[in-house]
């Protein structure tokens, strides 16, 4: 794993020092809230419905045990004993006091972390495949790329005042687990003609009010050209992105209004011109970054063959464990979606358990997934029973990864000042409706995603079932979309029809799932496959059938 250089450490420490003086000036009244606002946002500090919220960056979702323990320490010392992992692989603390925030930032700096670039119209914290370095289908670990982008985008003088926020996601595998097509820039590792790794560059994806699937701007970009090409895209966007309307300011609107061919021509011209003048990235820095992500020293231990497993462990392995690039290892996903819980929340005690398990069984590595779960990426198969037992004791062994209970939900009206409806209680009620994990396994892979407003932080557009909570004349109303997909076959879901009231939406989801179970041809056919085969009709009938009959009567 990457550890901070002296330069990184000094940079982060300087930023804390600067912010400490700004907080002091805010507290003694010499800075007004208006003046303070942009300064606090540059340090990840938002003002929410009830309190400040601090969003801490977890670059490309990678953490070690020491960092996870420090997050637990922060939750205990300055918050309410828990943290919330987000769809951008970050962690949010919901109850910090302003006077404590500089101390929290210093505590983060102690373990090589910060809250920079988690807000504002800059290049945001870069995200990556949460199975990076472990996945069996990987061309190359995307994290050296992501770390290079982190360094390049940090404190970039040209791109701190973009028309709007800018998100970059990277995947090293053909199976896209990083939703790269829903990012301002998505990078997908591919091989060139001679087999050398490079990137497919996707631009203009995004969810929010105007969901769009990104378009390929370059089929193959050699690795050495990466930063020069990103600079070209950002320069074109900074100069020509719309600034007259914040809802039309993302690069996806520029792509849409300009057309990908015209925009590609501008980007390529800028790239050609600037590449002559922009020196290559210092190879020593690249080499150092790549070395930091070298594979751990794998344990060569035998895997017990055909062990007798108790039913709980067997189903845990079935749902939460996937193949590692080494057959004797496995990737363990730890669900932060217990039945009736808040998706993405972890208590400080659970964080410490996860840190201990990572240290003991996963080469000291943890990942945060955009699906708001925690990953132990490198577990030897012989250790799976021990890991499972420890997780179960901590209330972390819910065997529902990828199933109906593994719901993504934004904080919604329980926390967020922008939300127009509650998200968390909907997620809780759906998971309670399917509390029987055997029933969940029977339903099979199903991604439900819930957003509490049109800004779509819950990624509802790419949920197999998407739920969008709106405000209709002061009353919560939930719209449904079907058929969304956030993988390499990315698709925006289609709206079913009129929305449902707060007390109607969970039964409506139940009817959708009932319709799927009735319609599937085999138990192996997934919800998404059934929807693609049959289209909207049977689901519409399940949702609105009774009304139609009522209308006809």
């Amino acid at each position: 794993m990457y550890s901070y250089t002296n330069f990184d450490a000094a940079f982060v420490r300087d930023r804390v020092k600067e912010f400490r003086s700004q907080v002091e000036r805010r507290l003694d009244g010499s800075l007004t809230e208006d003046e303070f606002k942009p300064l606090r946002l540059m340090n990840g500090l938002y003002l929410q419905l009830h309190a400040y919220m601090l969003r801490v960056a977890v670059p490309y979702g990678t953490l070690n045990s020491r960092q996870m323990r420090q997050l637990a320490h922060i939750a205990d010392t300055w918050d309410k004993g828990y943290g919330h992992f987000t769809t951008r692989q970050n962690i949010q603390f919901n109850w910090p006091k302003l006077k404590d925030v500089p101390d929290i930032l210093d505590a983060l700096a102690d373990v090589g972390m910060h809250a920079i670039q988690t807000s504002g119209n800059c290049i945001r914290n870069v995200t990556a495949d949460h199975f990076a370095g472990a996945a069996a289908d990987e061309i190359e670990d995307p994290r050296p790329t992501a770390e290079l982008i982190r360094q390049w985008s940090t404190d970039h003088p040209e791109f701190a005042y973009l028309p709007r926020k800018f998100k970059v996601g990277v995947t090293g595998s053909p199976n896209d687990r990083a939703v790269t097509k829903a990012h301002d820039i998505g990078l997908r590792m591919v091989r060139g003609e001679a087999g050398e790794p490079g990137y497919e560059v996707i631009v203009g994806g995004g969810l929010g009010r105007t969901p769009m699937i990104g378009k390929v701007v370059r089929d193959f970009l050699p690795k050495r050209d990466l930063l020069a090409y990103l600079e070209a895209i950002l320069q074109v966007y900074n100069l020509s992105g719309r600034r007259d309307n914040k809802y039309k300011a993302r690069i996806k609107i520029l792509v849409h209004e300009t057309g990908i061919d015209e925009l590609r021509a501008r980007i390529e011209e800028t790239f050609r011109r600037n590449r002559r003048l922009l020196p290559d990235v210092d190879p020593a820095i690249v080499a150092r970054i790549e070395a930091a992500f070298a594979a751990p020293a794998w344990a060569d231990r035998p895997v017990p063959d055909a062990p007798r497993l108790d039913a709980g462990l067997a189903s845990f392995i079935d749902t939460n464990v996937v193949a590692h690039k080494r057959p004797d290892h496995a990737i363990v996903s730890v669900s932060l979606k217990p039945t009736g819980g808040t998706p993405g929340d972890a208590t400080s005690a659970q964080m410490r358990v996860l840190a201990d398990l990572a240290e003991r069984y996963s080469h000291d590595e943890l990942r945060i997934s955009h699906e708001q779960n925690v990953i132990l990426p490198h577990v030897h198969r012989a250790d799976l029973p021990a890991v499972y037992a420890a997780l179960r004791e901590a209330g972390l062994a819910t065997a529902n990864i990828g199933l109906v209970g593994d719901i993504i939900a934004c904080p919604g009206m329980d926390y967020c000042a922008l939300a127009t409806a509650r998200s968390i209680p909907i997620a809780q009620q759906i998971s309670e409706m399917f509390a029987d994990l055997d029933a969940q396994r029977d339903i099979g892979p199903l991604k439900i995603k819930i957003s509490g407003c049109i800004n779509a932080c819950g990624h509802h557009h790419v949920g197999h079932i998407g739920i969008l909570g709106l405000d209709r004349a002061g009353v919560e109303n939930y719209q449904l979309t079907l058929g969304g997909d956030g993988t390499e076959t990315a698709t925006i879901g289609t709206r079913t029809g009129h929305g449902f009231a707060y007390d109607e939406i969970v039964p409506a989801v139940g009817r959708l799932i009932g319709a799927y179970l009735d319609a599937r041809e085999t138990p192996e056919e997934t919800f998404l496959e059934t929807y693609r085969r049959l289209g909207m009709d049977p689901f519409k009938a399940a949702l609105y059938g009774q009304e139609e009959q009522a209308d006809a009567a």
Partner: protein
């Protein structure tokens, strides 16, 4: 009136009284250049730096406008001028925040011209207090 700010603090206007500033539009429309020297040009927020290339050697100064503080186009415009090889003075004119001063110098701007009103609100000591440490980019692009 405006106040010129450089890395050394508040500075007196150095542009000679005999010098002229033309608009980019007048250059682009093919108007004859004045006889007076030096000549500078004031760009518009949506100007294209590459369009100015034929006049790089003639222009002793390029003025890059900064409108609202959230409008970061000036940073790209200035950097593009340097990337294209412009070697004269680049002046940022308009609303440049003290917090943007370090970034402005890092993209190749030499001096900032702020209003007297802003100069009263942001006196010289605030500009002098800005730390001008190196960023990641100067490390990554070793030769930059």
């Amino acid at each position: 009136m405006t106040q010129i700010v450089t890395r050394q603090g508040f500075a007196r206007e150095t542009w000679p009284e005999a010098g002229v500033i033309v608009t980019f539009e007048s250059l682009w429309n093919g108007q004859d250049l004045p006889i007076e020297r030096p000549i500078g040009v004031r760009l518009a927020p949506d100007s294209n730096a590459a369009d100015l290339e034929p006049w790089f050697d003639t222009m002793a100064m390029v003025i890059v406008p900064f409108g609202k503080s959230a409008d970061g186009r000036g940073f790209s415009l200035a950097r593009q001028l340097r990337q294209l090889g412009y070697a004269g003075i680049i002046r940022a004119e308009g609303h440049v925040l003290v917090d943007q001063f370090r970034a402005a110098l890092r993209v190749g701007i030499d001096q900032v011209a702020i209003s007297d009103e802003q100069a009263a609100r942001n006196p010289e000591d605030q500009w002098l207090a800005v730390p001008h440490f190196d960023g990641y980019q100067s490390r990554l692009f070793a030769a930059e």
